[in-house]
Amino acid sequence: MGMTITEKILARKSGQAKVSPGDLVTVGVDTVVFVDTMFVPTRWRKIKKLDHPERVVVVLDHRAPVPDRQGAATHKIAREFVDQYGIERFHDIGYDQGISHQVVADHAYALPGSLLVCSDSHTGSAGVFNCLARGVGVPDVFYAATLGETWFIVGETIRYDLSGRLPRAVTMKDAFLQIAGRYGDHTNTNVEYGGSALAHLSISARKTLTTMSTELSADFAIFDPDDVMCEWIRARRPDAFECFYPDADAKYKAVRQVDLGALQPLVAYPDSVVENSQPVAAAAGTRIDQAFVGSCANGTLEDLALTAEVVRGKRVDKRVRFIVTPASQAVYRAASEAGIISTLANAGVVVTNATCGACGGTHMGVLGENETCITSSTRNFKGRMGETSARIFMGSPATVAASAIRGVITDPREFLQ
């Protein structure tokens, strides 16, 4: 019996010919990403020995630039760590700032067949590059960075074969909401994405799916490699890499078909991402106080361009705060050069610098009591973006933008025909 992509890379990284679901494997780690939440003074442990600083990437992203003194103390610790070990891949406030998962994509830090860990839960995002990546705990990051290895229990894999082309105004966020709504959580299971639809899907579109797979509680999320992916990486770094495909006789827990052409815009209702999706029409007319496009799931140039397409020449409803946060300063610059930032600003959108921002509920768009928000970010959990009485609907950037213009949850097909 053959292996899935995840099993193949875990076998390679653990020095075995084969691994199977249920195995506990110790694997070598290629890349360890430290994000700013690692350096919070009550969490940080000073590292006395770091033999391979070249393995490490440091990104200040969750609250950047810092809004308060605790944040300042946190980022200061990060800079001291970077200086102590001469870490070159450091993404401080400035030109190379961004959310770690977007920074990893912008710089192609995640090579196919490699293993990457980070203490942010959405690290599976890098699976779009045929890289085995996942969020681990803060203590795991200390362990992996200093000892160069970590452990995983091999889970079963569910494969999704994507076919067809997304209709106008429908995005991979809607594809995700379809999967999350229909199939619920994927706890202890890896997900593998492939299929004929890849020919029509950009890296950014695919990345929404790998990033959001965290919300399925999937262990690893990974895409089949293809030319689009290889070209993305080659354009950004010269290193050789090896792509991993599933064996023809790989054993899956399930193989599921998703016809992208049959999808419609969806929203997740508040408090749970899984088992909570409905057509936008079901929630249409719900008054909103805030709209947000951003995060590691939907802060790419394509997401900003789609948002601009919806709001161009219009004005955000007076009762709505519409916040757009690019996922990296590289995205911000590209959006600026394309005229997207001015289109957004002219419509009354507040465009912020790159950071996790409102997604985490700690700065730049915190929700007040009983407010309602529609977001394209990663989570709609109770209290996630501010007060626990606030309600958070989740949809695509197009749905968020259409809702911001109307002041009520709105089907984006009313704007994008």
């Binding site: 009550t42 681990v136 795991d140 452990w151 509680s217 899984v274 700690t362 959990f381 109770k382 209290g383």
Partner: protein, 168 residues
Amino acid sequence: MSMILEARVWKFPDNINTDLIIPSGSIYLSAAEQAKLAFKANRPGWVDDMRPGDIIVAGKNFGMGSSRPAARSLKMLGVGCVIAESINGLFFRNSINYAFPAMECPGVMALFNEGDVAQVNFHDGAVRNLTAGKSITAKALPAKLLDLLQAGGIYPLLEQKGIIEPQT
């Protein structure tokens, strides 16, 4: 650390996420202060009602979401262990990391009513309802992970190796 636990049960539903255990905006609080906020949004007052040693029995997908150290908060409150229908992989890692016992046990929600007394054996996976006189078997932890958990998790290990400084 004894790995046979006996205490009363509190029941929690499916899909308990880590934002419910450690709310957004509490990242700079001490571990003890953070722990006091557990389940404030979905079960206010519970942290005062529970007693050290009590056991959480939960539905599927327990601990979904962020990597924040939710297991550390439950340990800090004195929760004996979590036994759930299924457990998010990242929460499970942190339970090992912070030496907080947690085990998956399909069928556990039906085995207990809230307030029943449970006996949980992490060595062989036996989960008993002492009140009702019924038992089932959980998915016992791999020996290597149980050893790591019993040794206090990752931090003591890294401290002994001289790799990180003890917390000041």
